[in-house]
């Protein structure tokens, strides 16, 4: 236990002066050398000191999978639970203790396969929890079966002739579940990853971060098109609120809408200018626009959006619950156990 940090209290100075070291536990990190998980861990540990939240207020809750080992490596409160159920456990933590900063760490199999039900209901309820979904498009811990984000036709140990399952797109699923904050980033872009973690933490409501993560053992390079220095610029469009969707190494291309369909256009051939492009609006309360963005991933001729798809305000579950409790107390007064036991029709036996 790190006793020195106990001086930090929620009412303490706003500058907590925490460092990355304060978030590193004494447990040896055990992911395969080269795994994308290391980068996500490091960027999280680097970012938390900037959030100015007392250390004891953090709880990291995970399911089962390689990524779900994450809480052991954080010197915060941590709970490594069961496969797919972290959202439900985190919900119980947050709604009974809204003061905590609760983070769910999950994988694509954990969140979208066995935990699909809990995942969508967490987002629907809008509990103020941050979810980091490590998407490596494979089952890592069980050694390489296809996952619900694996491509159709994917050859794996359990699909030697190719998968005949159609994949889920986590961002679309989240938007379909009425998520109020949805973002995508990658394990190989530290600055962006840090920025997104900060945005998610600041968001009041469920915040989903999909991190495109490399599993160099069972699915090496699955996202390289979007993460590699040489190909990234042509294949990724960064979303920034109020800015047009421009991409390309030379910032020479953009995304415009043709009816409901997004298309990539050149900004150099004189036909289109920035004025014709989609301007990113993460505040749009109608999810249609965000859906259109999310489906760009399914079109091989389009770059994939990275950044914050959506960030809207909506009442949080735990706040609505707390309000009901307060209103009830006002209406019915203080608890009186004896009165409760004697409620209704009673009679005396002499």
């Amino acid at each position: 236990m790190n006793a020195e940090t106990k001086a930090i209290s929620p009412n303490g100075p706003t500058e907590l002066k925490l460092t990355k070291k304060d978030f590193e536990s004494d447990q040896e990190v055990r992911w395969c050398p080269g795994c994308g998980d290391y980068a996500i861990l490091a960027q999280t540990q680097r970012t938390l000191p900037d959030l100015n939240i007392p250390k004891e207020k953090y709880v990291f809750v995970s399911g089962i999978g390689c990524s779900s080992r994450f809480p052991y490596y954080m010197d915060t409160y941590g709970f490594h639970t069961i496969h797919g159920r972290a959202p439900a456990i985190a919900t119980g933590i947050k709604i009974t203790n809204p003061d905590l900063s609760v983070w769910v760490i999950t994988g694509d199999g954990d969140a979208l396969s066995i935990g699909g039900n809990h995942f969508i209901h967490l987002l629907r309820r809008n509990v103020d929890i941050n979810v980091i979904l490590f998407n490596n498009r494979i089952y890592g811990l069980t050694k390489g079966q296809y996952s619900p984000t694996s491509e159709f036709g994917k050859v794996t140990k359990s699909t030697p002739f190719g998968s005949v399952d159609h994949p889920f797109n986590p961002v679309s699923v989240a938007l379909g579940a009425s998520a109020t904050f949805v973002a995508r980033t990658t394990d190989r872009d530290p600055a962006h990853l840090q920025k997104i973690i900060k945005r998610a933490s600041a968001h009041k409501g469920t915040a989903l971060i999909e991190v495109l993560q490399n599993c160099n053992i069972f699915n090496d390079g699955t996202w390289f098109k979007y993460t590699d220095k040489n190909s990234k610029a042509e294949n990724v469009v960064y979303l920034e609120h109020g800015k047009p969707l421009v991409f390309g190494a030379e910032q020479d291309k953009g995304i415009r809408l043709n009816g409901f369909r997004p298309e990539a256009v050149s900004l150099t051939n004189g036909k289109y200018s920035e004025k014709d492009l989609l301007v990113h609006d993460e505040k749009d309360t109608d999810a249609t626009y965000a859906f259109i963005l999310s489906h760009m991933m399914d079109n091989p001729n389009l770059p994939i959006p990275v950044g914050v798809f959506r960030a809207i305000d909506k009442v949080c579950y735990e706040d609505a619950m707390a309000q009901q409790i307060e209103a009830s107390k006002e209406k019915f007064g203080k608890p009186d156990l004896q009165a409760l036991l004697e409620a209704g029709d009673t009679w005396d036996v002499e």
Binding site: M1, Y58, G78, I325, L340, L341, D345, D348
Partner: protein, 611 residues
């Protein structure tokens, strides 16, 4: 024109009608009124599985059985003294249990050709003499209710639905009950629709006046108040008692109550009941499924709440994996399982006590946890309270067993004094210097409860095996065995708190009956009858099913025979045989119905005669 009033010591009455006829409502009201005038009561609501089976059919029959008495009783009775049958299907399914010469009140208006056919009657029993051995009162409640409500100008449909209160009015007259409570119930139930309150009140009075005026019945009856111990009483169902027990434990421990649940018959009323008490700080969470329900509860327990989930057998099956996690991380929570008939969906509205094995063993790995079972509707209060106490003191999930019969059944409850309820002390870990996540208390072997938000106690837990003391992940073989034994020993230590088993009857003898759960009333009644006959029979009832009471082995060995009646195919009997090596005899009924005490008496005679 006053009629003779005959005094009865007890009476069993059954209301039966179509599921749309409102039999549960009027049966329940007869029970409440009887309880309020001081009778002891036992009830058995018995409803069809379908919410609305086709009207008039045999599967659509809804029944409410009520035992009222001037002495202390323990069951809803067996054969009825009086049966109200609103239609032919209700008559057909219930007549068998009407006593010879019993009172049979029939709504003639419900006995049209179509209904006779639906109930598979070839001839009208009202006309073919088949009911001659009963005191038959055939009354056209449909027409009489319509007449009584004529002036109100209500639709025929609304008027039709008031005939249950006409029937209740008749029963009230027959058993000399006052109408005050029923009238005020109608007023509050229909406070937003005063015309319905008025219509039903008129129907109720009309039923009673009709009996008075027509001299239908030669006598009316009274059942004098029972001589129950002094105190303040209320009528309470098992599910309500469970909910109150949980709130009481929350108040007495100072921990906020959190219930995560997914609706399932017959447990849903616990969720409904607790949802009303937000001003007691109760948080209820209707989860997306049973797995999420228990997981939210694990989160709440981790966070320092008194965390509870309520369910029935199929839901408990889904909770199994998460229960294992709660056992592994040693967090306190309570799982209420209101058992119903299985397997699978089984007979959801019928009772059974067949989840004992699931409760004791239904998890992967070595995963022991304490199990307690309530024995009467009102006892659900104490037993739920006890479950909370054990969970908090010993840092473990606890399984609380009830069943459909207890959940929906009701009885007079001597209301406890809040101040007399035992305190439930809670010690959250605070001190970083002495803290280790799996450092155990010497007496109980419980680990510290360190909740997130406490400075300096940051630590990690999980379902993966933990090193003793530090809680760090460990695959060390010897550590795993050590931890497995520690977890088991921790549960065994709970037996230190279990009071000595009460033996009803002699401490040695020919036959000991061992009961658990809702068979309490039937076994107690049977044993009391046999003891009165001078038979060498004794009885114990087990509340703590894991760990079992320390004195149990001794007691079992003091009797020649041990008989264990259960509403299952033989579960506790196997546990007892295996653990104590005694040749206990199982006595089992698996019909979705509670035991009749006469069935147990017969079995007792059989054993005593065969020796």
């Amino acid at each position: 024109m006053s009629k003779p009033v005959e005094s009865l010591k007890e009476a069993t009455i059954r209301f039966a009608g179509d599921s749309g006829d409102g039999m549960q409502l009027v049966g329940g009201e007869m029970a409440n009124t009887s309880a309020l005038i001081g009778n002891d009561i036992g009830v058995l609501p018995d409803f069809p599985a379908e919410i609305r089976a086709p009207a008039g059919t045999l599967p659509g029959v809804s029944g409410y059985q009520l035992h009222i008495s001037s002495f202390d009783i323990h069951t809803p009775g067996e054969k009825y003294d009086a049966l109200v049958a609103m239609n032919p299907a209700a008559l057909k399914t219930n007549l068998e249990n009407l006593k010879p010469n019993g009172i049979l009140i029939i709504n003639v208006g419900g006995f049209k050709d179509r209904n006779l056919k639906l109930a598979h009657y070839d001839s009208n029993p009202l006309e073919d003499g088949s009911l001659d051995k009963y005191q038959l009162f055939a009354v056209d409640m449909n027409t009489l209710t319509h007449k009584a409500l004529e002036e109100l100008g209500l639709s025929a449909k609304i008027v039709d639905r008031c005939k249950n209160f006409f029937a209740l009015g008749m029963v009230f007259w027959l058993y000399n009950r006052t109408m005050d409570h029923a009238l005020s119930l109608l007023k509050s139930k229909f406070s937003k629709k005063p015309e319905l309150a008025e219509a039903n009140s008129r129907a109720l009075k009309a039923g009673s006046v009709y009996c008075e005026a027509t001299e239908q019945f030669a006598t009316s009856y009274e059942v004098k108040p029972a001589k129950l111990p002094r105190g303040k009483y209320r009528n309470i169902s098992g599910n309500t008692a469970t909910a109150l027990g949980l709130i009481a434990a929350s108040q007495k421990s100072g921990l906020p109550l959190f219930l995560g649940s997914y609706p399932i018959t017959p447990a849903s009323d616990i969720l409904h009941e607790l949802s009303k008490y937000k001003h007691y700080g109760v948080r209820t969470f209707q989860a997306e499924d049973e797995i999420a329900a228990i997981c939210s509860v694990i989160g709440a327990a981790y966070s320092g709440s008194l965390a509870v989930t309520s369910t029935s057998g199929p839901g408990l099956a889904l909770k199994g994996e998460a229960l294992g996690l709660a056992i592994s991380v040693e967090l306190p929570l309570v799982v209420c399982n209101v058992q119903r008939a299985g397997p699978s969906t089984g007979m959801p509205t019928k009772t059974e006590q067949a989840d004992l094995m699931q409760a004791l063993y239904g998890r992967n790995g070595e995963a022991p946890l304490p199990v307690v079972a309530a024995s009467k509707p009102a006892d659900c209060f104490e037993t739920a309270y006890e479950a909370c106490r054990i969970a908090i003191k010993h840092m473990t999930p606890v399984l609380f067993l009830s069943d459909g019969y207890l959940a929906n059944g009701a009885e007079p409850w001597p209301i406890p004094k809040a101040e007399d309820l035992p305190e439930i002390p809670v010690n959250f870990a605070k001190d970083p210097e002495s803290f280790e996540p799996f450092l155990r208390d010497e007496d109980t072997l419980a680990r510290p409860w360190a909740i997130p938000g406490t400075p300096g106690l940051e630590h990690r837990i999980g379902g993966i095996e933990k090193e003793a003391v530090t809680g760090n992940v460990s695959y060390d073989p010897r550590n795993h065995e050590y931890m497995t034994r520690m977890r088991a020993e921790k549960i065994e230590k709970i037996a230190n708190d279990i009071p000595p088993t009460e033996i009803e009857g002699k401490k040695t003898g020919d036959l000991l009956l061992v009961g658990w759960g809702s068979t309490y009333g039937a076994i107690k009644t049977a044993v009391e009858h046999k003891q009165k006959e001078g038979k060498p029979v004794s009885r114990i009832h087990i509340i703590h099913l894991n760990p079992l009471p320390k004195d149990l082995g001794e007691i079992l060995k003091s009797f020649k025979h041990v008989l264990i009646p259960e509403i299952n195919a033989g579960q506790l009997v196997n546990v007892i045989r295996a653990k104590y090596m005694v040749p206990a005899i199982g006595f089992n009924k698996v019909q979705g119905l509670p035991f009749f005490s006469s069935e147990i008496e017969q079995k007792i005679d059989e054993i005593l005669e065969s020796k």
